[in-house]
């Protein structure tokens, strides 16, 4: 019984690791990330964040710049995009992963792009 519980626990632990080790992103990955970040029907990050050469950006959230130094831990950045409400209850940032606005792969492409800013 106890062994069963432990194995369930370990399985959960393994499954909860969301960001595996990443190879260096290709230019294609970065371009795809920018496309997802700018598109109104996907990330639409520009609705709230100024970033890069984006036009008509909103100013509800902070400017997205120096992302690698601000978020050296990729896993933390991933989790905040997945569901920022877990970090800040009052945030208006949509929970992109939890509400299936972007897939895991798409969030990872967005991060590939954000890390170039």
């Amino acid at each position: 019984m106890r062994q069963g519980l432990i194995s369930v626990y370990l399985t959960t632990l393994v499954l909860s690791v969301t960001a595996p080790v990443f190879a260096e992103p290709s230019q294609g990955d970065i371009d795809r990330g920018k496309e997802l970040a700018f598109s109104r029907t996907d990330g639409n990050c520009l609705a709230c964040h100024q970033m890069d050469d984006g036009k008509l950006a909103g100013n509800i959230g902070p400017e997205l710049a120096d992302m690698k130094s601000r978020y050296p831990d990729r896993e933390i950045l991933y989790r905040r995009i997945w569901d920022e409400t877990q970090f800040n209850e009052m945030t208006v940032m949509p929970p992109f992963g939890r509400h299936m606005i972007l897939s895991k792969q798409e969030i990872n492409r967005v991060i590939d792009y954000l890390y170039t800013l």
């Binding site: 609705a47 008509l56 909103g58 009052m90 939890r98 895991k104």
Partner: protein, 279 residues
């Protein structure tokens, strides 16, 4: 992975009421709300809040002022007056259904009817008047109903909004239901009304400038450039809900009427300025 671009109904509807707004009576709520915005925008006088984004953004204000010589709702209001004054088949007119013959009463709507136990909006009263006189009801969101409601608002301009929540558990429950709706997150994007209009007025969301809660309903019905015509408050509610990828409620549903009740109560004391224009 399944990508759900579909509309999600009230996904994660969690209440997030800022402490400053957690008053227990409607009047405490209203005072806290007004004080919150007065602190957020110290240069805007109380009455200035009826002008929404135009009170907060100089560029937008200038564009708006340049439209005021020939406001785009003029013809609709004239049509509304004609419809308002034209007798029904039975010879009666809209005036027979309203206090003071329907002139100068916009500021009292919506009200809670303690006999029917429901919120009565001006548009609901217009259609019930038609039905009581053997006429077909009008469509709720635009067209004739917006013109008639716009005409009625125009006869009430300058009168202070005077919404009452009577000492009645059902009235208070309707108000609370509207308040809860206002602060509940909904839709795939997980926004409440308050996410934009309490937490972030004065800011840009992409190309749109966000207005504060207080003052909004004083302008309705509005002519939006985006619509190219007049529309009712419930048309706007549905548009906002759709924007956050939530399933909108039907116009004049109990939920939207309760929302209008709460929202308009928050604007008590501000003058009726509708019909008005918005981007």
């Amino acid at each position: 992975m399944v990508k759900a671009k579909i509309i999600l109904v009230v996904l994660g509807a969690a209440l997030a009421v800022p402490q400053v707004l957690a008053g227990s009576t409607p009047e405490e709520d209203r005072k806290a709300m007004v004080e919150y915005f007065m602190q957020m925008f110290p240069d805007v006088p109380f009455e200035g809040f009826v002008n929404g984004q135009y009170a907060l953004n100089e560029d937008r204000r200038r564009q708006w002022e340049s439209m005021q010589d020939f406001p785009p709702y003029e013809f609709a209001v004239a049509d509304g007056q004609e419809m308002f004054e034209t007798p029904f088949a039975n010879g009666k007119t809209y005036a027979s259904c309203f206090e003071n013959d329907g002139i100068g009463i916009r500021q009292n709507y919506p009200y809670f009817d303690t006999e029917k136990n429901e919120v009565i909006t001006l548009e609901l009263a217009i259609n019930r008047c038609r039905e009581a006189n053997g006429e077909e009801p009008l469509k709720w969101k635009k067209g004739a109903i917006a013109s008639i409601s716009g005409y009625m608002a125009s006869t009430s301009q300058g009168k202070p909004i005077n919404i009452k929540v009577p000492d009645d558990p059902d009235a208070l429950a309707a108000y609370q239901d509207g308040k809860e709706f206002y602060y509940s997150r909904r839709g795939q994007l997980n926004f409440s009304c308050a996410s934009c209009h309490v937490q972030n007025p004065g800011k840009w969301i992409r190309g749109d400038f966000l207005s504060p809660t207080v003052g909004q309903p004083a302008n309705f019905p509005v002519h939006r450039s985006d619509w190219g015509e007049m529309g009712t408050l419930h048309r706007r509610f549905a548009g906002c809900n759709t924007n956050v990828r939530a399933e909108p409620l039907p116009a004049q549903s109990e939920g939207y009427r309760n929302l209008e009740y709460f929202l308009t109560y928050m604007s008590n004391g501000l003058p009726v300025v509708g019909p008005a224009t918005r981007p």
